[in-house]
Protein backbone atom coordinates (compact mmCIF):
# COMPACT_ATOMS: atom_id res chain seq x y z
CA UNK A 1 0.00 0.00 0.00
CA UNK A 2 1.26 3.43 -0.88
CA UNK A 3 2.65 5.43 2.01
CA UNK A 4 2.27 9.19 2.14
CA UNK A 5 4.48 11.54 4.09
CA UNK A 6 2.15 14.45 4.82
CA UNK A 7 2.91 18.10 5.19
CA UNK A 8 0.47 20.77 4.08
CA UNK A 9 2.26 23.35 1.94
CA UNK A 10 1.22 25.94 -0.63
CA UNK A 11 2.53 25.54 -4.19
CA UNK A 12 3.88 29.09 -4.20
CA UNK A 13 6.03 28.44 -1.14
CA UNK A 14 7.89 25.72 -3.07
CA UNK A 15 9.08 28.01 -5.86
CA UNK A 16 11.62 28.44 -7.30
CA UNK A 17 12.71 24.82 -7.42
CA UNK A 18 16.34 23.75 -7.39
CA UNK A 19 17.36 22.45 -10.85
CA UNK A 20 17.87 18.88 -9.60
CA UNK A 21 14.47 18.92 -7.91
CA UNK A 22 12.74 20.10 -11.09
CA UNK A 23 14.54 17.40 -13.08
CA UNK A 24 13.20 14.75 -10.69
CA UNK A 25 9.66 16.09 -10.95
CA UNK A 26 9.96 16.11 -14.75
CA UNK A 27 11.10 12.48 -14.67
CA UNK A 28 8.03 11.56 -12.63
CA UNK A 29 5.55 13.38 -14.90
CA UNK A 30 5.59 10.31 -17.15
CA UNK A 31 4.47 8.00 -14.32
CA UNK A 32 5.90 6.34 -11.25
CA UNK A 33 9.56 5.34 -11.34
CA UNK A 34 12.19 3.89 -9.04
CA UNK A 35 15.41 5.73 -8.19
CA UNK A 36 17.59 4.32 -10.95
CA UNK A 37 14.90 4.97 -13.59
CA UNK A 38 14.68 8.60 -12.42
CA UNK A 39 18.45 8.92 -12.65
CA UNK A 40 18.55 7.43 -16.14
CA UNK A 41 15.68 9.62 -17.32
CA UNK A 42 17.43 12.79 -16.15
CA UNK A 43 20.75 11.78 -17.69
CA UNK A 44 19.13 10.88 -21.02
CA UNK A 45 16.94 13.99 -21.17
CA UNK A 46 19.88 16.31 -20.49
CA UNK A 47 22.30 14.42 -22.76
CA UNK A 48 24.42 13.61 -19.75
CA UNK A 49 24.79 17.24 -18.68
CA UNK A 50 22.97 16.50 -15.40
CA UNK A 51 23.95 13.32 -13.58
CA UNK A 52 22.28 12.82 -10.23
CA UNK A 53 24.34 10.81 -7.79
CA UNK A 54 22.56 8.50 -5.32
CA UNK A 55 23.02 10.95 -2.43
CA UNK A 56 21.74 13.94 -4.39
CA UNK A 57 18.79 11.94 -5.74
CA UNK A 58 17.62 10.45 -2.44
CA UNK A 59 18.31 13.67 -0.55
CA UNK A 60 16.01 15.49 -2.97
CA UNK A 61 13.42 12.68 -2.84
CA UNK A 62 13.39 12.85 0.96
CA UNK A 63 12.61 16.59 0.80
CA UNK A 64 10.00 16.07 -1.92
CA UNK A 65 8.28 13.40 0.18
CA UNK A 66 8.34 15.65 3.21
CA UNK A 67 6.82 18.57 1.34
CA UNK A 68 4.17 16.34 -0.22
CA UNK A 69 5.19 16.85 -3.87
CA UNK A 70 6.03 13.17 -4.28
CA UNK A 71 4.63 10.04 -2.67
CA UNK A 72 5.81 6.49 -2.45
CA UNK A 73 4.23 3.86 -4.63
CA UNK A 74 4.62 0.17 -4.05
CA UNK A 75 7.73 -1.98 -4.00
CA UNK A 76 8.34 -4.39 -6.81
CA UNK A 77 11.08 -5.74 -9.04
CA UNK A 78 11.96 -4.14 -12.35
CA UNK A 79 12.14 -7.00 -14.91
CA UNK A 80 14.86 -5.13 -16.84
CA UNK A 81 17.11 -4.87 -13.77
CA UNK A 82 16.73 -8.21 -12.03
CA UNK A 83 14.88 -9.57 -9.02
CA UNK A 84 15.63 -6.87 -6.50
CA UNK A 85 12.53 -5.17 -5.16
CA UNK A 86 12.61 -1.44 -5.78
CA UNK A 87 10.56 1.33 -4.23
CA UNK A 88 8.66 3.41 -6.74
CA UNK A 89 7.92 7.12 -6.44
CA UNK A 90 5.19 9.17 -8.09
CA UNK A 91 4.01 12.76 -8.32
CA UNK A 92 1.16 13.97 -6.15
CA UNK A 93 -1.40 16.48 -7.45
CA UNK A 94 0.51 19.16 -5.57
CA UNK A 95 3.76 17.98 -7.15
CA UNK A 96 2.26 18.19 -10.64
CA UNK A 97 0.91 21.67 -9.92
CA UNK A 98 4.29 22.86 -8.60
CA UNK A 99 6.07 21.36 -11.63
CA UNK A 100 3.64 23.21 -13.95
CA UNK A 101 4.14 26.47 -12.07
CA UNK A 102 7.92 26.10 -12.21
CA UNK A 103 7.77 25.33 -15.95
CA UNK A 104 5.67 28.49 -16.51
CA UNK A 105 8.11 30.50 -14.42
CA UNK A 106 11.04 29.25 -16.49
CA UNK A 107 9.09 29.84 -19.70
CA UNK A 108 8.52 33.46 -18.70
CA UNK A 109 12.22 33.86 -17.99
CA UNK A 110 13.15 32.41 -21.38
CA UNK A 111 10.61 34.71 -23.04
CA UNK A 112 12.20 37.68 -21.32
CA UNK A 113 15.66 36.54 -22.39
CA UNK A 114 14.39 36.24 -25.97
CA UNK A 115 12.93 39.74 -25.85
CA UNK A 116 16.29 41.02 -24.65
CA UNK A 117 17.84 39.15 -27.59
CA UNK A 118 20.00 37.04 -25.29
CA UNK A 119 18.84 33.91 -27.12
CA UNK A 120 17.05 33.02 -30.34
CA UNK A 121 19.37 35.15 -32.52
CA UNK A 122 21.45 33.85 -35.38
CA UNK A 123 25.15 33.96 -34.46
CA UNK A 124 26.95 36.89 -36.09
Amino acid sequence: MARKQQTAVTPESQLPLAPATFEILLALVGGERHGYAIMKDVTARTDGAVRLGPGTLYGALKRLLKSGLVEEGGERADPELGDDRRRYYRLTKLGLLVARMEARRLEAMVRAARQKKLIGMEPA
Binding site: H34, G53, Y58
Partner: protein
Amino acid sequence: MSPEGVYRLLLRAYPPDFRSRYGGEMSLLFRDEYRTRGATAFGFWMTMVWDVARSAGSMWVEELSARVERFTRTLEAVMKLAGILAVLLGLLGVLSTLAETVAAMRGTLEGVHALSVALGGIAAVLLVTAGAALLRSTPSSRQTATIALVASFVVILAARLMHPWMSMLLQIVGIGLPIVLLAALHWPHRRNPSTSPAR
Protein backbone atom coordinates in the same frame (compact mmCIF):
# COMPACT_ATOMS: atom_id res chain seq x y z
CA MET B 1 36.36 -5.58 -0.56
CA SER B 2 33.67 -5.40 -3.21
CA PRO B 3 32.78 -2.03 -4.77
CA GLU B 4 29.38 -2.21 -3.09
CA GLY B 5 31.12 -2.81 0.23
CA VAL B 6 33.23 0.30 -0.32
CA TYR B 7 30.12 2.29 -1.17
CA ARG B 8 28.34 0.98 1.95
CA LEU B 9 31.29 2.30 3.95
CA LEU B 10 30.86 5.70 2.29
CA LEU B 11 27.18 5.62 3.30
CA ARG B 12 28.27 5.80 6.94
CA ALA B 13 28.84 9.51 6.32
CA TYR B 14 25.03 10.01 6.32
CA PRO B 15 22.87 10.46 9.42
CA PRO B 16 21.67 7.06 10.76
CA ASP B 17 17.97 7.75 10.08
CA PHE B 18 18.64 8.69 6.45
CA ARG B 19 20.95 5.72 6.01
CA SER B 20 18.46 3.22 7.41
CA ARG B 21 15.67 4.61 5.22
CA TYR B 22 17.50 5.14 1.92
CA GLY B 23 20.81 3.26 2.30
CA GLY B 24 19.49 0.08 0.71
CA GLU B 25 18.05 1.89 -2.30
CA MET B 26 21.22 3.94 -2.70
CA SER B 27 23.37 0.80 -2.68
CA LEU B 28 21.11 -0.73 -5.30
CA LEU B 29 21.35 2.38 -7.44
CA PHE B 30 25.12 2.42 -7.01
CA ARG B 31 25.31 -1.19 -8.16
CA ASP B 32 23.19 -0.46 -11.26
CA GLU B 33 25.29 2.56 -12.13
CA TYR B 34 28.53 0.69 -11.45
CA ARG B 35 27.51 -2.06 -13.85
CA THR B 36 26.50 0.44 -16.51
CA ARG B 37 29.44 2.83 -16.35
CA GLY B 38 32.24 0.44 -15.49
CA ALA B 39 34.16 -0.28 -12.34
CA THR B 40 37.60 0.91 -13.16
CA ALA B 41 36.72 4.44 -14.17
CA PHE B 42 38.48 6.80 -11.77
CA GLY B 43 35.99 9.50 -12.68
CA PHE B 44 33.12 7.27 -11.58
CA TRP B 45 34.54 6.90 -8.06
CA MET B 46 35.36 10.59 -7.86
CA THR B 47 31.76 11.38 -8.78
CA MET B 48 30.47 9.02 -6.08
CA VAL B 49 32.78 10.38 -3.37
CA TRP B 50 31.89 13.97 -4.30
CA ASP B 51 28.18 13.09 -4.28
CA VAL B 52 28.45 11.54 -0.80
CA ALA B 53 30.54 14.43 0.56
CA ARG B 54 28.13 17.06 -0.74
CA SER B 55 24.82 15.40 0.08
CA ALA B 56 25.88 13.95 3.46
CA GLY B 57 26.78 17.45 4.64
CA SER B 58 23.37 18.84 3.74
CA MET B 59 21.62 15.79 5.24
CA TRP B 60 23.41 16.36 8.54
CA VAL B 61 22.43 20.03 8.50
CA GLU B 62 18.77 19.02 7.94
CA GLU B 63 18.97 16.34 10.62
CA LEU B 64 20.39 18.73 13.20
CA SER B 65 17.87 21.42 12.22
CA ALA B 66 15.05 18.91 12.70
CA ARG B 67 16.40 18.03 16.15
CA VAL B 68 16.54 21.70 17.13
CA GLU B 69 13.00 22.13 15.76
CA ARG B 70 11.71 19.20 17.81
CA PHE B 71 13.46 20.53 20.90
CA THR B 72 12.02 24.01 20.29
CA ARG B 73 8.47 22.60 19.98
CA THR B 74 8.93 20.72 23.25
CA LEU B 75 10.30 23.86 24.80
CA GLU B 76 7.25 25.85 23.67
CA ALA B 77 4.96 23.34 25.38
CA VAL B 78 7.14 23.50 28.48
CA MET B 79 6.95 27.30 28.39
CA LYS B 80 3.15 27.11 28.63
CA LEU B 81 3.48 24.98 31.73
CA ALA B 82 6.17 27.33 33.03
CA GLY B 83 3.77 30.24 32.51
CA ILE B 84 1.15 28.52 34.67
CA LEU B 85 3.81 27.72 37.27
CA ALA B 86 5.05 31.33 37.27
CA VAL B 87 1.50 32.63 37.83
CA LEU B 88 0.87 30.18 40.69
CA LEU B 89 4.23 30.83 42.36
CA GLY B 90 3.79 34.57 41.85
CA LEU B 91 0.42 34.35 43.62
CA LEU B 92 2.10 32.35 46.38
CA GLY B 93 4.65 35.17 46.65
CA VAL B 94 1.87 37.77 46.89
CA LEU B 95 0.15 35.76 49.66
CA SER B 96 3.48 35.34 51.51
CA THR B 97 4.07 39.07 51.28
CA LEU B 98 0.61 39.78 52.68
CA ALA B 99 1.16 37.28 55.52
CA GLU B 100 4.55 38.84 56.28
CA THR B 101 2.99 42.30 56.24
CA VAL B 102 0.21 41.27 58.65
CA ALA B 103 2.69 39.51 60.97
CA ALA B 104 5.09 42.42 60.92
CA MET B 105 2.38 44.98 61.57
CA ARG B 106 1.53 43.19 64.83
CA GLY B 107 5.05 43.96 66.06
CA THR B 108 7.39 46.71 65.13
CA LEU B 109 7.77 47.12 61.38
CA GLU B 110 11.15 48.68 60.71
CA GLY B 111 11.69 50.89 57.69
CA VAL B 112 14.09 48.56 55.86
CA HIS B 113 11.98 45.48 56.67
CA ALA B 114 8.85 47.23 55.39
CA LEU B 115 10.60 48.25 52.19
CA SER B 116 11.93 44.72 51.67
CA VAL B 117 8.46 43.21 52.11
CA ALA B 118 7.01 45.75 49.68
CA LEU B 119 9.70 44.88 47.12
CA GLY B 120 8.93 41.18 47.61
CA GLY B 121 5.30 41.92 46.81
CA ILE B 122 6.26 43.86 43.69
CA ALA B 123 8.53 40.99 42.54
CA ALA B 124 5.68 38.51 43.04
CA VAL B 125 3.29 40.67 40.99
CA LEU B 126 5.93 40.94 38.25
CA LEU B 127 6.26 37.14 38.26
CA VAL B 128 2.48 36.78 37.82
CA THR B 129 2.66 39.29 34.94
CA ALA B 130 5.50 37.31 33.31
CA GLY B 131 3.56 34.06 33.70
CA ALA B 132 0.44 35.56 32.12
CA ALA B 133 2.55 36.92 29.24
CA LEU B 134 4.15 33.49 28.69
CA LEU B 135 0.72 31.93 28.41
CA ARG B 136 -0.24 34.33 25.60
CA SER B 137 2.88 33.30 23.63
CA THR B 138 2.92 36.18 21.09
CA PRO B 139 6.07 38.15 20.11
CA SER B 140 4.93 41.21 22.10
CA SER B 141 4.01 39.09 25.13
CA ARG B 142 7.44 37.44 24.98
CA GLN B 143 8.95 40.90 25.25
CA THR B 144 6.66 41.73 28.16
CA ALA B 145 7.61 38.47 29.87
CA THR B 146 11.31 39.21 29.41
CA ILE B 147 11.01 42.68 30.94
CA ALA B 148 8.84 41.41 33.82
CA LEU B 149 11.23 38.53 34.55
CA VAL B 150 14.32 40.77 34.58
CA ALA B 151 12.53 43.29 36.78
CA SER B 152 11.27 40.55 39.11
CA PHE B 153 14.78 39.10 39.44
CA VAL B 154 16.34 42.50 40.24
CA VAL B 155 13.60 43.48 42.71
CA ILE B 156 13.60 40.16 44.60
CA LEU B 157 17.40 40.25 44.81
CA ALA B 158 17.25 43.78 46.24
CA ALA B 159 14.54 42.70 48.72
CA ARG B 160 16.62 39.71 49.85
CA LEU B 161 19.75 41.84 50.33
CA MET B 162 17.82 44.43 52.37
CA HIS B 163 16.18 42.08 54.87
CA PRO B 164 16.17 38.26 55.13
CA TRP B 165 12.44 37.80 55.75
CA MET B 166 11.80 35.31 52.93
CA SER B 167 11.68 31.54 53.35
CA MET B 168 14.25 29.41 51.51
CA LEU B 169 11.54 28.24 49.04
CA LEU B 170 10.57 31.82 48.23
CA GLN B 171 14.21 32.74 47.68
CA ILE B 172 14.82 29.79 45.35
CA VAL B 173 11.63 30.49 43.42
CA GLY B 174 12.04 34.25 43.36
CA ILE B 175 15.65 34.22 42.19
CA GLY B 176 15.93 30.91 40.31
CA LEU B 177 12.67 30.89 38.36
CA PRO B 178 13.23 34.16 36.45
CA ILE B 179 16.72 32.99 35.41
CA VAL B 180 15.44 29.62 34.15
CA LEU B 181 12.50 31.19 32.34
CA LEU B 182 14.67 33.86 30.69
CA ALA B 183 17.07 31.18 29.42
CA ALA B 184 14.19 29.09 28.02
CA LEU B 185 12.44 32.14 26.56
CA HIS B 186 15.48 33.15 24.55
CA TRP B 187 16.33 29.72 23.20
CA PRO B 188 16.81 30.18 19.41
CA HIS B 189 13.44 29.56 17.74
CA ARG B 190 13.27 28.32 14.16
CA ARG B 191 10.79 28.75 11.33
CA ASN B 192 8.50 25.82 10.59
CA PRO B 193 10.34 23.70 7.97
CA SER B 194 7.08 22.57 6.38
CA THR B 195 6.88 25.93 4.64
CA SER B 196 10.42 25.67 3.22
CA PRO B 197 10.81 24.89 -0.46
CA ALA B 198 11.78 21.32 -1.42
CA ARG B 199 15.34 22.06 -2.49
